[in-house]
């Protein structure tokens, strides 16, 4: 009874927040509502018995995305001070009615499709459980991510790198000089950053058998870097060129190398010997965590660090 009410309130909150974030007139309000949307989403994952996703959402949806959006909002204001004035601009009149009607029709069709899905789909849960002891890890989600469907994850770290290349190629710079962080923020970051790095390492390590994994760990690592950037830290110029790029490609390169080796030895992409799988997965995850973290930090900055320093 009570848990049913919890589900209803959560779903209503989700819809209300999404609607508010997309319809409210004030852009800043929209961003805060979207951050709250991410928070509620993480609670929904818990209700759906998906703590692994809840952890990823807590780190990314409720944390990093919020910081990204807030930083972008500030830069948007600097580039175009009247952005709040024209942000309410939207389609009106007959096109608006047309779009609304078509969206409603699509909603009905999607709802019907979901409603009529057979309720006894076997899924792949049994296959995963049957092969889990050959995967080298005991957390089924990590087994799927790094072993059974490792190619997904390989492409995914490539997507991250591509996104960063895209962002860097646009040649933006952030001319904004920040005020000194002050004693409180400085102390806070000095206390929290080591703790965040520790939590990232913990998540990476326990990911093999419990909640955690490379993505969650990478996101927490990225949060540490973002906090340092916000507290006024900048990458030393000596590290900005080659060392940074090596760190960024370490994860994708290791992954790709192992993919090629397994392809040549086994005839199949990312097919690990069961007795080696555990160690290989930990190795891939470690480099992937570092690269994912570094890539997300770089995406937060949005411009190559050396270009920013010249300003």
């Amino acid at each position: 009874m009570i848990s049913g009410m919890l589900d209803i309130v959560l779903a209503l909150a989700l819809m209300g927040l999404a609607w508010g974030a997309l319809a409210s007139a004030d852009l800043f309000k929209a961003i805060v509502l979207f951050i709250a949307f991410g928070l509620v989403m993480a609670l929904v994952w818990v209700r759906l018995n998906a703590p692994d996703i809840a952890l990823a959402e807590a780190a990314i949806g409720a944390g990093l995305t919020g910081a990204l959006l807030l930083a972008a909002y500030a830069k948007l204001h600097a580039a175009s001070p009247d952005t709040d004035v024209d942000n309410a601009s939207r389609v009106r009149g007959i096109p608006f009615i047309l779009i609304s009607v078509l969206t409603l029709l699509l909603t009905a069709a999607l709802g019907y499709a979901v409603w009529t899905l057979p309720s006894d789909g076997a899924g792949l849960g049994n296959d995963v459980a049957a092969n889990l002891d050959r995967s080298g890890v005991s957390n089924p989600v990590t087994a799927v991510l790094l072993n059974f469907r490792g190619y997904d994850t390989l492409l995914e770290v490539m997507v991250l790198l591509l996104a960063l290349l895209g962002a860097w190629s646009l040649g933006l710079s952030s001319p904004r000089r920040e005020a000194a962080p002050g004693l409180v923020l400085d102390t806070l970051s000095r206390l929290l950053v080591p703790l965040l790095i520790l939590v990232a390492a913990y998540l990476l390590w326990v990911g093999a058998h419990a909640l955690g994994g490379a993505f969650q760990a990478g996101a927490v690592l990225a949060a540490a870097g973002v906090l340092m950037l916000l507290a006024g830290w900048r990458l030393p110029a000596a590290l900005a060129a080659l060392p940074l790029r090596l760190v960024l490609v370490a994860g994708p390169a290791t992954f790709l190398l192992l993919a090629v080796i397994t392809l040549l030895l086994e005839g199949r992409l990312l097919q690990f010997y069961p007795q080696w799988a555990g160690r290989l997965i930990l190795f891939i995850e470690t480099t992937a965590t570092i690269s994912i973290g570094a890539t997300l930090i770089a995406l937060f900055l949005g411009a190559p660090p050396n270009r920013e320093d010249r300003q």
Partner: protein, 99 residues
Amino acid sequence: MTPSDYLSAALLLAGGLFFLAGTVGLLRFPDIYSRLHALTKADNVGLGLTVAGLAVQAESWAVAGKLLLIWALVLLAGASVSYLIAHGALQRGMRPWKR
């Protein structure tokens, strides 16, 4: 219900009460500074009592320790962020509310 269950329930309910008080304060208080004051009651005391209530039930010292760590983190973050917001508000010339 064992005695520790009663203790835990009492602590949890008290925690919920502070969360309610914090929310009411956030909604009713007139300016940013007094709202900060209300918010930190939910942060510190509300979560503290909730953590205490759950720690009474904890199956091991490690679990109780992790609960306390979470509370300590929220305390540290809450205090620092509240300072940063109040400081920023003063710098931007927001005047405290006067009757």
